[in-house]
Subunit: 199 residues, 2 copies
DNA sequence: GAGTTAACCTAACACTGTTCGGTTTCTCAG
DNA sequence: CTGAGAAACCGAACAGTGTTAGGTTAACTC
């Protein structure tokens, strides 16, 4: 099948299909051949629209991060921090399987930097020193990424026998997967509130 | 070379060599063939001592996590949280390249669970509810893992031109790589202090 | 000294990201 | 309306990955 009348591929279609695969099968579940098959195409054809797989992932990451809202600093800086962190986490947890990639690679994405710039500026004009502003922004990212990796609630076994004997204080840990989402959100809110309150 | 007089391989030697490669070349820099070559052996020979690569990484992770100290709760729970978090971060940041793997997989490692059990119990006997204890432990992990991923200071370009035009508040971001380690530690300490104070 | 087992090997399988060269169809200038 | 060139796809290949099967030899055990 050479050069069809209407193109089968476009960067947008490739990106959204790739993201769908990641959401469905995890980060390791995405391969160029599988992506191509899902688009009704051979793997080599993708490289006419995408430079490399890494670039593709970066583009997807950027489009996810562009949903982060940092415009909440008009009220005061505490409220701004809360809103920014919530928006960041919401963006990440809408596609949790790609978070390891975000956390892995360098923070050199334009979307990240632009938002970081606004955040930093808002903190400085609220009276923090530049160094303090940097550390506060870092601390906020710790909580956001730490919570989005969701290493915590999910990842527990659903079998009570895995815990009851060896770990007496975790005798209800097998219930965690059932309430993971809710508990993760509440833990995030608690950590965020404690952090901002303690500044 | 069949069955040498003294064995070339042992689980310990494999683990430590693998960890050395990870420390030197990063997580992606570890392949079974490269590991085998470094041990003076063919790749297939490793599988007499190690079940799979994933299991090998898990074993390495466990040995790193076994250095985490959660015995600081004899004083009071705040001090215990601080010590536990510092010890955890120290363990992770002594081998930063393996942290993405830790953050990726499930938290079902015996070493993690045992420490989590102690932490949870200490918080409950300090008067927190079980749910609160779980959320506090989760929040602590957020900060520890978020900071150990060190997505932050490292990952910035060392070229001022990358920032000065587009991101006015980040005009000194190019200095970050030079002080990354120090700044990351200070940011962690600040986030941890703020979190514990705000509880 | 014979038999078993442990430790290594070579060769292969099925996969990965990526590139090269080829084929066809579309687009556009003359 | 023709001819040139680019665009969009494909098949085949390369070097790499984790892993397994089957073979060879040395060391241990009785």
């Amino acid at each position: 099948m050479p050069r069809p009348s209407t193109p089968l591929l476009s960067p947008d279609r490739i990106r959204s299909t790739a993201l769908a695969i990641i959401d469905r099968d995890g980060l390791d579940g995405l391969s160029m051949r599988k992506l191509a098959a899902e688009l009704g195409v051979q793997a080599a054809s993708l490289y006419g629209h995408v430079r490399t797989k890494d670039q593709l992932l970066n583009d997807i990451a950027s489009s996810i991060l562009s949903a982060v809202d940092v415009t909440g600093f008009t009220v005061d800086w505490r409220e701004g921090l809360l809103r920014c962190a919530r928006s960041y986490r919401a963006a990440l947890s809408s596609h949790p399987n790609i978070v390891p990639f975000l956390a892995y690679g360098p923070a050199g994405r334009a979307e990240s930097l632009q938002r970081l710039d606004l955040l930093h500026g808002a903190l400085v004009s609220a009276g923090w020193s530049r160094r303090e502003a940097t550390m506060i922004a870092a601390g906020l990212m710790y909580i956001v990424f730490g919570s989005a990796l969701s290493t915590f609630s999910s990842g527990f076994s659903a079998d009570p026998a895995d815990y009851s004997d060896r770990y007496p204080h975790l005798d209800r840990a097998h219930l965690l997967p059932g309430v993971a989402r809710e508990l993760d959100r509440d833990s995030f809110e608690m950590a965020l509130a404690a952090f901002v309150r303690g500044l």
